[in-house]
Amino acid sequence: MKISACRKSYRGKTVLQCPEMEYQPGRIYAVVGPNGSGKSTYARLAAGVIKKDGGGMAVVSHEKPICHAGGSQCQNSEWRKNTRIKEILYMPQKSFPFRMSLEKNILLAGNDRQRAAKLMESLRLSSLSGRRARELSGGETAKMALARVLMKPCAMLILDEPTSAMDMESAIAAEQLIHEYTMETGCCVLFVTHDLSQARRMATDALFFFHGELCEFGPSEKVLYDPARPETRTFLEYYGGLGQK
């Protein structure tokens, strides 16, 4: 999956600048950085929700998701084989609860009751399935939004701080689900988070944004533990310390 070089400005001020990036199937890319560093803007560009400066989409090429590196971990389940693959799925930082029940919200993304039930079960939403989505709490809404975006297989999954409103227990369950989804579909995942320990748990690779620029990119053992750039080092010192494994 290739995302072209892109720049995005609002009212003449550049808020994001990023070179062309290629994302490998089966890998989870943590997008980290302080508030306002352009993480969400990058997620929106990659998802095709907003256009680059001067128009045009950021997504250039897409390949069928293939399992990476011999496919040893990839299960390619029945579910994945029998459903049409969407190119990109994206969960915004503020997902919208549509005016219908929680379960109907989830089924909007794909009419697969079995899968919906499984996802609700994993995120402990089953008892809320008939509740009006507008009346859910912030964390419950976030869980619903995650279940909704995981209904269909895709080539690239983009999640913008999916767990930041969830409690710890739910967040761990969510991480587990995202892992399973990645294994089953062989998609690549862009995972925006400002939680360093979560990034360390989840990611195979990491992108560090700072003041709207891609500051550092590489395998997570490097970027999230022993970064080269001083900006990244300062960030890590605040959030979880350098080099701890």
């Binding site: 929700v49 969407k86 997902s95 909007l108 895709c154």
Partner: protein, 228 residues
């Protein structure tokens, strides 16, 4: 004064034929015009609120301006267009119920469009971002937006109906307030008051106010139910 109100209530209860005719013409005009305005205005309002095209803001300004258009001005324009020398004169619609309906549609459709647009433009970015993110098609996004608008659509309809039933300028200009034909509640109040006969005027006033009260009760009750 008290006796006038008493007489008015007696008139309402007696089932006066002229009063009945006025109510019938009013209902026909206002229900038809507000429904047409709703069916044209809601889709346009949703599109205008959700779709960012060049000239969108210009259109919004036009709609908000038209929304505040005085009914007499609307009546005047329609009168000129449909009078004998006007471009639509050959349809011979002047002083019929149909032209009253057309004039009211012109008058209240912008109100529907502007109201729906205001609501939709506030939620459209979030709805679209979520919907595109789920890989839904544009028409599905539009349906979801419409589903979010159930309450505004409902309350806007009642607002449009209230405006159409309360206005006098447009219907009197193009309808001419002809008794037994194009006379509606508001024009009848003017007509009878000018003649010095207050009873029918007061009776109609009472009915108009009751309708307004009913509309507002319904809006308030439905707000809680539809808005979740």
């Amino acid at each position: 004064m008290q006796s006038a109100i008493q007489k008015a209530i007696e008139l309402i209860l007696s089932g006066d034929r002229e009063l009945g005719n006025i109510l019938l013409v009013t209902a026909k005009t206002c229900v038809t015009s507000s429904l047409i305005a709703l069916f044209m205005g809601v889709p346009l309002g949703i599109l205008l609120g959700a779709w960012n095209f060049r000239g969108r803001r210009f259109l919004v300004i036009i709609m908000r301006t038209l929304m505040g258009m005085p009914p007499v001005v609307c009546g005047l324009v329609m009168y000129i267009l449909f009078s004998g020398v006007g471009p639509f004169g050959r349809y011979k619609l002047l002083f019929t119920v149909n032209i009253m309906i057309i004039a009211q549609v012109v008058l209240i459709t912008p109100l529907v469009i502007a109201n729906i647009e205001t609501y939709v433009s506030a939620i459209a970015p979030l709805v679209q971002e979520t919907s595109i993110g789920l890989g839904l098609r544009p028409w599905q996004t539009l349906m979801l937006l419409a589903n979010e608008c159930i309450y505004p659509i409902f309350s806007t309809y009642l607002l449009a109906f209230a405006r159409s039933i309360a206005e006098v300028g447009a219907v009197s200009m193009v309808g001419g307030a002809i008794a037994w034909k194009t006379n509606v509640m508001t024009t009848a109040i003017m007509l009878y008051t000018n003649r010095g006969s207050f009873t029918l005027g007061i009776a109609l006033g009472i009915i108009l106010m009751s309708i307004s009260l009913l509309v507002n009760i319904v809006v308030t009750v439905m707000q809680g139910r539809l808005n979740r």
